[in-house]
Amino acid sequence: MTRPRTAAVRAGIARGRIEFRNTMTNLGELLGWLWLPIVVLVVMFVLRGTPVPGSGFSLGTQSVAGVLAANVVFSGVLGLAVALTMDREDGTLLRAKATPNGVIGYLVGAVLAKAALVVATTLMVLVPAAFVYDGLELARPGAWPTLAWVLVLGLAATLPLGAVLGATIANTRSLGLVTMVFFALAAVSGLFYPITALPGWLQAVGQVFPLYWMGLGLRSALLPDALAAVEIGGSWRTGATVAALGLWALAGALVGPGLLRRAAARESGSAVAARRAQAAQRPAR
């Protein structure tokens, strides 16, 4: 006989697969996650003639890694926050709570579905970009393994943030604010222009957050080594990337589950109904 938690984790994996499939087969939802990287890529395509300062390399090509990093946060972190908020609104989380060990299964499923979505959207952006932009070194032996570990570590570092946001945000209306913060963060993380062009204090702010480190790691995977020259310290700083993302992942693993359990503990039918009533009073979008 399987132990209850094992069964719940297994059910969670199945859940992740179904949720992922539901997203991938819903064109509207999929486009909702892809529009931002697509728009940025188009803008960058226009800028492909502009060189990265201090080198002859195309700024457009250089920013592909930035688009991918932003995509992890957009479809992964914001995606998870949106999913959790909506699932609290429509009673999905309450349903999980009514099921033995259901909250474990729910969380495993939600995190896996978003991780899979990030991998899928990354490929959907990267593969066409490789044909459009010259100079991406996808054929280099280290490229894909580096891409893989940066993505995995980046997801581990950022998805707990999505969970925390989803657990603390009162309703889907407040998500707009979170999106604004995300854009501000993207601006100071050197995703689309070398961070070394920013004033020192902004560079310091950018380096606190995992978004910068994911961008750096992805650039090290996709771009020629010579481009490390425009980074802080003139290097890809691989060790520091692992350490920074690892610390965020650790913090998330320590704080995330407790916060989520507390969010789940607050759920009740009346709470869901109250939130729904509030949502119904909103002016139509």
């Binding site: 209850p4 069964a7 297994r10 429509d90 009673g91 349903r95 709570k97 009514a98 033995p100 259901g102």
Partner: protein, 308 residues
């Protein structure tokens, strides 16, 4: 399950003021009460979703505030309204939720139910592969009930399960609950606003009003317990008469005694005794008045009439 002196306060408003409630093994109990009486509140406290202000509560041998996952596996829950998982397919969701119960099964009570059997029982076999968001309100409600049953619960909570059912579906649902309980030894606590449903389905009817249980018994006992006023109409000497009386039989006896005395013939006699619904309404009205003012005891009906 047992509740004694259950109280619940929202801010300064007391919604439950000492509720005593029992549901025995394999028993079906209907909880009735007007909107806002606290039925959902009571059920949520029993489900462990809401912390009570005071009182002792035991559900399947455990205080719901401290129920663990093994305890939860023995409960089935159908809340007043669900809207979740609309992108999922019907069979998929039942199978998924059922899989959480597998470790809690035993030889005597294997868990979960076979999904396809359950779908057939609740009449959803034809839509098993449809997305849940495309179901009609009644179909959605049946799915909710199926989810409540998938873990083969020892105790099933149903909060207004038949809202939105057509008469046919309602009938089928009654069948479903009765066969489930008979075959599975599942106790049921359900809330409803439909008296006929409560009368048909439940072994016992409990009425919650003014924060207390104001009646508890079978449908017949309930009617007897709270018989409201009957209405007697008759014609005498060309004039129509009408009276509301608490004991119509005695009143009519007196009426004919008078006819014998004075010889004025009585015609067109009709006696209407209160239906279960009327008794219920009278009962609720009285309970709410008592709870509201604490003094007024009258039921607002006309003063007792004597034969004209």
């Amino acid at each position: 399950m047992t509740a004694r002196g259950l109280r619940m306060q929202y801010g300064s408003r007391e919604v439950l003021r000492g509720v005593d409630l029992d549901v025995g093994r394999g028993e079906i109990v209907a909880l009735l009460g007007p909107n806002g009486a606290g039925k959902t509140t009571t059920i949520e406290i029993l489900e462990g979703f809401r912390k009570r202000s005071s009182g002792t509560v035991t559900v399947l041998g455990t205080d719901p505030d401290h129920g663990d996952e093994a305890w939860r596996a023995r409960l089935g829950i159908v809340l007043q309204s669900w809207r979740d998982h609309s992108a999922w397919r019907v069979r998929e969701l039942l199978g998924h939720l059922g899989s959480f119960y597998a470790p809690y099964g035993s030889a005597a009570r294997p868990r979960p139910c076979a999904v396809d059997d359950l779908l057939a029982v609740v009449g959803l076999a034809d839509v098993a592969d449809r997305r849940i968001g495309t179901l009609s309100g009644g179909q959605r409600r049946r799915l909710d009930v199926a989810v409540g049953l998938v873990g083969r619960p020892d105790l099933l909570f149903l909060d207004e399960p038949t809202t939105g059912f057509d008469p046919q579906a309602r009938l089928e649902f009654h069948e479903l609950v009765r066969t489930t309980v008979a075959g599975e030894d599942t106790a049921v606590l359900l809330t409803t606003h439909d008296l006929a449903e409560a009368e048909k389905l439940a072994d016992r009817i409990v009425v919650l009003a003014g924060g207390r249980i104001v009646a508890d018994g079978t449908a017949t006992e309930l009617a007897a317990q709270v018989v409201g006023d009957g209405e007697v109409r008759w014609c005498r000497g060309g004039a129509e008469h009408r009276a509301r009386v608490s004991d119509p039989t005695a009143f009519v006896r007196e009426l004919f005694a008078r006819e014998r005395r004075d010889g004025m013939r009585i015609t067109d006699l009709t006696v209407r005794v209160p239906t279960l619904e009327e008794s219920y309404l009278a009962l609720v009205e009285r309970a709410e008045q008592e709870a509201g003012t604490g003094t007024e005891m009258g039921t607002g009906t006309e003063a007792e009439a004597v034969p004209a």
